[in-house]
């Protein structure tokens, strides 16, 4: 496998006048767990679909496992596994029948396929569910079946697109651990999500995608560091009203304010005078302050800062819903 498992070159996708992915240049290393992070409609899924050869780029191209997605689409398909919302298994077939069908289509010899079924189902603990119809399984097990089918032919690159949505926290956690294990075995994983906490926990590197553009790439730590001018405060102040929170939000240079009783979290692009001003505003409005601490910004806060603040994201999401 080449050093860089995925290399995109000016990858662009337009749907009519709308640019879904804009001039995307990105390198993903072999065995890396790479997160594509962005809100709904940012261009993550379109990027994945281009890399999977489901749709063609308008401009530019990409190499996946060393093969060009435009010129060598069939080879690319042999190298990849895909779990995405628009890709499903046959619900009227059992897990086993689905596996057998796709092992035939991938040209896996029967004896090897049987070994692989056992390996995968043992790994996920399918047990007697292996013989059940996919339609009779819960959402979590259906997703595991999809992952099994995606791994059947031992792909070198695995695309997991919003794979934890609809999963309970335990299953999501188990899936994250399993993905990490896969990467340790050399599989490159592209993990797309709009849940900011996920890549922070599991990804080696994260690409922040917004409005079709790749804004920043780096480890979660690097991304947070790259936002030099971002400072976070956590204030323990129980029983705040909405009006009191809004008062803090209306302060100058504020990036993001969240309140989960009793913790008020404030991120701001200036450090000077921040503690004093927040304290004064809270006390003036009659709030009680138990403690106040400076914190490292989270990836979510870094993301909000990188994409131009909450207002810019809201505007983008609104535009997206209008297009729909």
């Amino acid at each position: 496998m080449p050093d860089n498992s995925i290399v995109t070159k000016k990858l662009t996708k337009k749907f009519g006048q709308f640019t879904a992915v804009d001039n995307l240049n990105m390198d993903v290393r072999g065995g890396e767990l790479f997160g594509l992070l962005g809100p709904n409609g940012a261009g993550k899924t379109t990027t994945v679909r281009m890399l999977c050869t489901l749709i063609e780029p308008t401009f530019g191209t990409a190499l996946v496992a060393g093969y060009d997605i435009r010129e060598q689409a069939a080879e690319v398909r042999r190298q990849i596994g895909v779990v995405s919302d628009g890709v499903s298994l046959y619900k009227d077939l059992t897990v086993e029948e689905n596996m057998k069908l796709f092992s035939t289509l991938y040209g896996i010899p029967r004896s090897k396929a049987e070994e692989r079924f056992k390996e995968l189902t043992d790994m996920f603990g399918f047990g007697d569910k292996f013989k059940r119809l996919v339609s009779a399984l819960s959402t979590g097990w259906q997703k595991k079946t999809l992952i099994c089918a995606a791994l059947l032919h031992e792909p070198t690159v695995l695309f997991l697109d919003e794979v934890t949505s609809g999963l309970d926290p335990q299953s999501a956690r188990a899936l994250q651990d399993f993905t990490r294990k896969l990467c340790n075995e050399g599989v490159t994983v592209i993990w797309t999500t709009h849940y900011m906490a996920e890549p922070e926990k599991i990804c080696d590197r994260v690409g922040v995608v917004f409005a079709g553009r790749l804004i920043q790439v780096g480890t979660p730590h690097e991304l947070k560091q790259s936002v030099n001018e971002l400072f976070a405060l956590e204030v323990e102040t129980p029983g705040l009203s909405l009006a009191q929170v809004e008062k803090i939000r209306s302060m100058e240079d504020i990036c993001n304010v969240t309140y989960k009783d009793p913790v008020l979290r404030v991120t701001c692009t200036r450090e000077e005078g921040l503690i004093e001003e927040v304290t004064r505003k809270l006390l003036d409005s009659g709030a009680r302050i138990k403690s106040i601490n400076t914190k490292e910004p989270t990836l979510e806060e870094a993301f909000i800062s990188l994409t131009g603040g909450e207002e810019e994201i809201d505007r983008f999401l609104e535009l997206g819903s209008q297009k729909k």
């Binding site: 489901l54 749709i55 890709v87 077939l93 289509l105 040209g107 119809l133």
Partner: protein, 384 residues
């Protein structure tokens, strides 16, 4: 891609489709029971093959011309006049007068017993009845000939006409523009064509629309399987179902409604499957347009209505005039239905149907090729 992988993949797709079909009770009931039974029983019943006797030809004014003036022809007249199917049958016309009255609205058909009718029966030869019908009344000619065929089959001249060797009067043929009909055979051609077209179209176009909506189509094309293998696999699957449907319709038509196809089972099955195959090609073409299952159903109804009007379901395509005739010439289904009629009704051999078969094959290839190209061109739209 090696041919062996191409074929293995196609067979895997076929097996997959059959397995899913076997688990889908609704599909089984509709495809193998409701469609064949509903159409055969409805049309069979409407043609008087089941239930209480009702004859749509009873009050239609017709002329009976007896050029033979024999005992056999007199018995035939008595039988027809008392059958309840020809209550407005009038005797006493001369042949040229009767023919001249067709198209005037005074009579709509003339049944002519030619000279030598009785002699033919005596000599154990085929005795012919000529049937002239008013082409200006769509469907009436077929209806009259079908009813007359049924009655003639029941006509037993052995008592009067001796020495006819055959039991019954199986030797009597009704000639209408060179076509010989008997019993429910006309109905059989219509039912067979409708059932195959109805089912094959939905199974292909609707099946792919459903796969796209459920995301299994995207899963399939993400695997290293050729589009040709997918199309071939689905075609083989539907050919199996089409063959089963052919046997069901044929069994019902023959055993419940007395159809007597003038052809062998192989020819009938071949033509029935060709019609199904042609429709599958069209189904693939429609599926390539990224339509939902609901849109497929709507197109299906329009297709059936369109074919009813222009493909010889009711009116022979030779009888269509003007723009209808032109449309009919362009519709490959019309040739398939024509071929079915020619084999089932007059026993024309398959090899003599060169024009019909060529048009059928050309239409089929055109649909499949266009669908293949569209699937490739619109791959992106179909996958998302």
């Amino acid at each position: 891609m090696p041919a062996s992988k191409f074929l293995r993949d196609a067979l895997a797709v076929t097996a997959n489709e059959l397995r899913q079909f076997s688990r889908n009770r609704t599909a089984i009931v509709i495809s193998l029971f409701v469609l064949p039974f509903f159409f055969t029983v409805s049309l069979g019943g409407a043609q008087g093959g089941a239930g209480a006797h009702f004859s749509p030809t009873a009050t239609v004014p017709m002329a009976f011309v007896d050029n033979d003036l024999s005992t056999a022809s007199a018995r035939l007249w008595q039988m027809l006049a008392s059958s309840g199917d020809f209550s407005a049958l009038v005797q006493g016309y001369r042949e040229e007068n009767a023919i001249a009255l067709l198209g005037t609205g005074k009579i709509y058909a003339a049944i002519v017993v030619p000279q030598g009718f009785e002699a033919s029966l005596h000599n154990n030869q085929t005795a012919k009845i000529l049937l002239y019908t008013d082409d200006g009344e769509p469907g009436l000619g077929d209806q009259i000939s079908s009813t007359l065929s049924g009655d003639v089959e029941n006509f037993d001249p052995n008592v009067e006409v001796q020495p006819v060797r055959t039991a019954g009067i199986a030797g009597v043929q009704i000639i209408q523009k060179g076509v010989v009909f008997s019993g429910f055979s006309v109905g059989l051609t219509i039912v067979l064509a409708v059932v195959q077209i109805f089912a094959a179209f939905y199974e292909i176009a609707g099946g792919i629309a459903k796969e796209r909506e459920e995301g299994t189509y995207a899963r399939m094309i993400l695997s290293p399987v050729a589009l040709g293998s997918i199309m071939l696999g689905k075609t083989l699957y539907d050919l199996i179902l089409s063959a089963v449907r052919t046997f069901i319709v044929l069994g019902l038509a023959v055993y419940a409604f007395g159809a007597r196809p003038n052809t062998d089972l192989g020819t009938l099955l071949f033509l029935s499957l060709m019609l199904a195959l042609l429709t599958m090609g069209f189904g693939f073409l429609v599926a390539a347009l990224k339509l939902g299952t609901r849109a497929v159903v709507i197109i299906e109804f329009f297709l059936i209505l369109f074919l009813f009007a222009f493909s010889g379901f009711i009116i022979d395509k030779e009888l269509l005039r003007g723009i209808s005739r032109t449309i009919s010439t362009l519709l490959p289904w019309a040739y398939g239905i024509d071929a079915l009629k020619r084999t089932i009704l007059i026993g024309q051999p398959l090899l003599s149907l060169g024009t019909d078969l060529s048009a059928l094959v050309a239409g089929l290839l055109l649909f499949y090729a266009a669908a293949y190209i569209l699937f490739n061109l619109l791959r992106e739209r179909l996958a998302t």
